[in-house]
């Protein structure tokens, strides 16, 4: 709305428009207040991470770093820590998290797509009951499963390896199966039928037709899975015990333990910001995929 059209409309519409203007002011100020509240923690993390060590402990704290110390980001990763974890280079944690995340994203997307294909495009006895089974497992929290799963890993001698954090995700996840099934159902069935007439197998239809047509949905599942695996904490926490197997979130949770006296918050914040940055960057570049992933289901149905 430009200024001239604003005044014109005020002339024409008078009070009614003034009420509209008041509403606009009200909406933007509410959004602004909310935005400040939501961004404040990020700002505080950035601010602290760039402060000079001594200034971190200054009361009252500075609202901006002066001088700006980028070195903190280096120190956060190679500081003179005192614990056993000190001997492990930090890229090792990053490597562990990366292995688990990459496997998880591929595994859960691929296997869930395969399973969802059968539920969306094929007919077989017990389909309805089985799908109901998929839906009902959505309710089962990990906390309920972690003890018996832990016993399983122990008996398989898989504790303190990445296998428990990698293998189960090749068997589909209920939520992703559900979302992908919903999406696959929106693709016209005639496509499959004409491919069938041409002699295509289900695998061909799946890999050559459904998967390419579902790239946005698969991408959406993929980015959400990336964030899940990158951020997972309780899973690795109960499985991994040798420091060289730790993931980034475990490292972060143990960070302050390593320092005898006070927590060096500037380093802690620098490490935190570095660790969350892949998810932030991914989100900035694929917002659409995130939004689609969350809203794939049509609630009216």
């Amino acid at each position: 709305m430009t200024a001239s059209s604003t005044s014109l409309r005020t002339l024409l519409l008078g009070n009614r428009f003034r009420r509209g203007l008041l509403k606009t002011v009200y909406i933007y100020s509410a959004l602004f207040v909310y935005a400040v509240l939501f961004l404040l923690p990020f700002y505080w993390m950035l601010n602290t991470s760039l402060k000079e060590p001594l200034r971190v402990f200054q009361i009252p704290p500075d609202w901006y770093p002066n001088p700006v110390v980028f070195r903190n980001y280096l120190d956060a990763w190679v500081s003179d820590r005192t614990d056993i974890a000190a001997e492990i280079p930090v890229y090792n944690y990053a490597k562990n998290t990366a292995i688990i995340t990459v496997n998880g994203v591929i595994a859960t997307t691929f296997s869930s797509a395969l399973i969802a294909y059968a539920f969306a495009r094929m007919d077989f006895p017990g389909k309805q009951a089985m799908f109901l089974g998929v839906i009902s497992t959505l309710m089962i929290p990990f906390t309920v499963l972690m003890v018996p799963q832990f016993i399983l890993w122990k008996n398989l001698n898989w504790l303190d390896t990445f296998l428990p954090l990698m293998v189960p995700y090749w068997f589909g996840s209920a939520w992703n199966v559900f979302l992908l099934r919903q999406f696959f159902m929106t693709i016209p069935l005639e496509y499959d039928e004409s491919a069938r007439i041409d002699g295509a197998t289900h695998w061909t239809i799946f890999s050559r037709l459904i998967v390419p047509l579902s790239k946005p949905a698969l991408g959406a599942i993929g980015v959400l899975a990336f964030v899940f695996f990158w951020n997972d904490f309780l899973g690795p926490l109960i499985i991994l015990s040798k420091p060289q197997n730790f993931t980034l979130t475990m490292y972060l949770a143990n960070f302050s333990v390593a320092f005898v006296r006070t927590t060096p918050w500037h380093l802690y914040m620098a490490a935190s910001l570095t660790i969350i940055s892949p998810c932030l960057i991914l989100f900035f570049f694929s917002q659409r995929a995130f939004i689609q992933g969350i809203t794939i289901t049509d609630f009216k149905r």
């Binding site: 509403k23 909406i27 959004l31 909310y34 935005a35 939501f38 961004l39 923690p41 505080w44 704290p61 395969l114 399973i115 094929m122 007919d123 077989f124 006895p125 089985m130 089974g133 998929v134 497992t137 959505l138 309710m139 089962i140 929290p141 906390t143 309920v144 499963l145 972690m146 003890v147 018996p148 799963q149 832990f150 016993i151 189960p168 090749w170 068997f171 589909g172 199966v177 197998t201 289900h202 799946f206 990158w230 951020n231 904490f233 309780l234 109960i238 979130t249 972060l252 949770a253 914040m269 935190s272 998810c279 932030l280 991914l282 989100f283 917002q287 995130f290 939004i291 809203t295 609630f299």
Partner: protein, 306 residues
């Protein structure tokens, strides 16, 4: 005759083939379910009747764990209470904020992508990183919150060390992560039919009336969905108390998940932890079913006679 019989056999054969292929496609789910979900659930049910600390042989003790949970273990009921209060406040307040943000963003405003990014962003921050950050913001003399309070002439608070305040502090942190329900509300609001609003305009209905009598009934299925998902996710809260408070002070933030984790992996009481997990599962089951029951009274589905 012979021709039709052959054709019939061919069709039946094709059908059998199709069924086999379909089962191959869903095989990962069936195997995964048996190994990692169904099997473990049965194992944990059986285990809950045994005393087992991993190194010794399991000993059958009947319902002792379930009895102990409600009699000798003072902390179980306490942690249940802590979790309930947290879930109640964080889900209700979280949905109020998520919906109000979605309503604001549903007005004709500029830069909707930027606003949405700002409000969604905390949702991609891990529980651990977010908890570390909020613990720092909540710290005594150095924390931003206390310094803001001092700046406006108020008393600083012991956010994470005050038994009365600490749960509220964790609820406040959880309100920072409302990106997912907000985006779901936004999508729902965009899909609302405009004709009902035009009809309301003709009746000179105010904004508030339109919200109460058009928007709210139409999005009630989405509210219901967000409440169910919110409860299931918040009841599992773990990283926040683990990182920020370790369950303290004086167990004021001993969440069910944390209590279960400590019993299982610190005290190695596998049987007892299994019994607790089962109770937790039952609670979620009852809550969800209860919500479905209640939903019939307040959720409005289009095309369904009232």
């Amino acid at each position: 005759m012979a021709a039709t019989a052959t054709a019939g056999r061919a069709i039946r054969k094709a059908k059998a083939q199709e069924t086999i292929t379909a089962y191959l496609f869903v095989a990962p789910w069936i195997i995964g379910f048996l190994l990692f979900i169904g099997g473990p659930i049965i194992v944990s049910f059986v285990l809950s009747f045994f005393r087992w600390k991993i190194i010794n042989t399991p000993r059958f003790i009947g319902f002792d764990h379930y009895v102990a949970m409600f009699t000798t273990d003072d902390l179980f009921l306490h942690s249940l209470g802590v979790t309930f209060r947290f879930v109640l406040y964080s889900v209700i307040l979280g949905n109020v904020i998520a919906l109000s943000l979605a309503l604001l963003l549903n007005q004709r405003i500029r830069g909707i992508g930027v606003w949405r990014t700002i409000f969604y962003l905390p949702a991609v921050v891990s529980g651990v990183a977010g908890s570390v950050l909020w613990a720092w913001m909540y710290s005594g003399e150095l924390g931003i919150f206390n310094n803001l309070l001092i700046a406006v002439g108020l008393e600083p608070q012991a956010w994470l060390w005050d038994e009365q305040l600490v749960l509220g502090s964790l609820v406040a942190k959880s309100l920072w992560n409302i990106g997912v329900p907000m985006v779901i509300y936004m999508a729902a609001l965009q899909g609302l039919p405009q004709d009902l609003y035009e009809a309301a305009d003709l009746d000179n209905a105010g904004e508030w009336t339109k919200f109460l009598s058009v928007t709210l009934p139409l999005i009630s299925p989405v509210i219901f969905f967000n409440l169910v998902m919110g409860i299931i996710s918040q009841i599992q809260t773990f990283a926040e108390p683990y990182v920020m408070t370790k369950g303290g002070p004086a167990n004021a933030t001993l969440f069910l998940g944390l209590h279960l984790y400590e019993n299982a992996f610190h005290f190695l009481k596998m049987g007892y932890a299994s019994a607790m997990a089962w109770i937790m599962f039952l609670i979620i089951f009852v809550l969800t079913m209860g919500q479905f029951g209640l939903a019939r009274r307040w959720v409005y589905y289009e095309g369904q006679s009232s």
